[in-house]
Amino acid sequence: MTDLELLKNRVVLESDRVYSVSSMDVPGTYPGVDDTWDIERFKKTFKVVISELTKGNIEFDLIGIDASIANAFRRILIAEVPSMAIEDVFILNNTSIMHDEVLAHRLGLIPIKADPNDFSFRWETAQKNGNTQGPTDADTIVFKLQVKCTNKKGAPKDDSLEPSELYDNSSVYSGQMIWSPQGRQEEFFKNSPPRPVYDDILITKLRPNQEIDLELHCVKGIGKDHAKFSPVATASYRLLPDIIITKPILGKDAEKFQKCFPEGVVEVFVNKDGEKEARVVNPRKDTVSRECLRHAEFKDKVKLTRVRDHFIFNVESVGAIPPQRLLPDAVKVLIEKCKVLKRSLAQINQAN
């Protein structure tokens, strides 16, 4: 790789600094290189790889996009992909030791399994119905939480026992929330009734004769408004590390070099001359600790870099939206944003 290519495609890490960080692929930066954006070229160079998928987590690579786009995805995932959460809590009775507002806050953070696409925002329905305030079946899910703690029948009078053995309903869990369908919801959500994603989230604890009687209203919202509406637990990206060995690292140094990296990054093999030599096998696993640059013997033999347009995304879903649907949802939000802006610009152009 020539020096120019290195600067163009890589972020370079040295022991005391990181350089060549920002992307310079705009027209006019390099003589003889036309960097004008072109959809056909983008279609050819852009790649997606899905490398891991579990129930709540997805890891995928977006190769060949600009950092501003990757960062837009991350920001949109965290703050602007809508999801449902409890917003209003009507407290009919609360004799537990937990204060009303603390209880309401805890309830708000419970992830709700309901497809946000099936609902509209409250302000949308308000606009449609001519600003008549009040929830409708198109924008609100209602849950009831009515729990009273009582002494367990026939329980021994022994203080050393667990509260769960002495009393009924000593702990209130999210699974005890009961969906109460409104309007046409019962028919519409026959196959997938809204419920908390996890049934074992502890909400509060009660003792005999304490009770809570609540009505919970879930609405659609976005993470910008409140973090409880965010559909992701984490959404982050990193650049793919790339370790370039410029001069062969031989003998004992090879083993030392291998130990500078996490397991599986560097391998020691026997080369043609029967000597031990180090080579890079899986730079993806590298944490880029830059340990190898602390040793004088490796200083001129290795270049630590990151590929500037290779983004490794790690997105963990809260559970309401399956992880593989998060990126398409984020893209949808972004396209919608662009379309709104385009429309308002077209309007202005027409007026002039």
Binding site: M1, S23, D25, V26, P27, G28, D35, T36, W37, I39, F42, K43, F46, K47, V48, V49, I50, S51, E52, L53, T54, F60, L62, I65, D66, S68, I69, N71, A72, R75, I76, A79, E80, W123, I222, K224, D225, H226, D242, R284, V307, Q324, L327, P328, V331, K332, L334, I335, K337, C338, K339, V340, L341, K342, S344, L345, A346, I348, N349
Partner: protein
């Protein structure tokens, strides 16, 4: 008490326009755009897309104040076009780019899912493509 409403972050105020244009009086082919209720997400993306256009001489954005939910975008172009036209082009390009990304992701996911269920019942399945050099 006097805290601003939370929805002010993303719902347009009454009579507020999403986008306004102020032509620059001192520079030729330059304009300042004010976009309401947007932040660095859109600002940085637009700036980058505009810079990738040969006809754009200058593109920059700022968020004037953390409590004002708007961005200010400045564009200067070559004499054969206008900032408005360039911004329009940037929107079109971005929409195309996003559609490509979504389509590719969904196609790849479809294949991934296929492999995932029919060939491996283990939870995690890795595959890498590395052709960096």
């Amino acid at each position: 008490m006097n805290a601003p409403d939370r929805f002010e972050l993303f719902v347009l105020g009454e009579g507020q326009k999403k986008l306004t244009i102020t032509p620059d009086t001192k520079l030729p082919n330059a304009a300042t755009f004010t976009i309401q209720k947007e932040d660095h997400t859109v600002g940085n993306m637009l700036r980058m897309q505009l810079l990738k256009n040969k006809k754009v001489l200058f593109a920059g954005y700022k968020v004037p104040h953390p409590l004002e939910h708007c961005i200010i975008l400045k564009i200067q172009t070559t004499p054969d076009t206008t900032p408005e036209a360039m911004l329009m082009e940037a929107f079109d390009e971005l929409i195309k780019e996003f559609s490509t990304i979504r389509n590719k992701f969904e196609v790849i996911f479809f294949f991934f899912f296929f492999f995932f269920f029919f060939f491996f019942s283990i939870n995690i399945f890795f595959f890498y493509i590395f052709n960096l050099e």
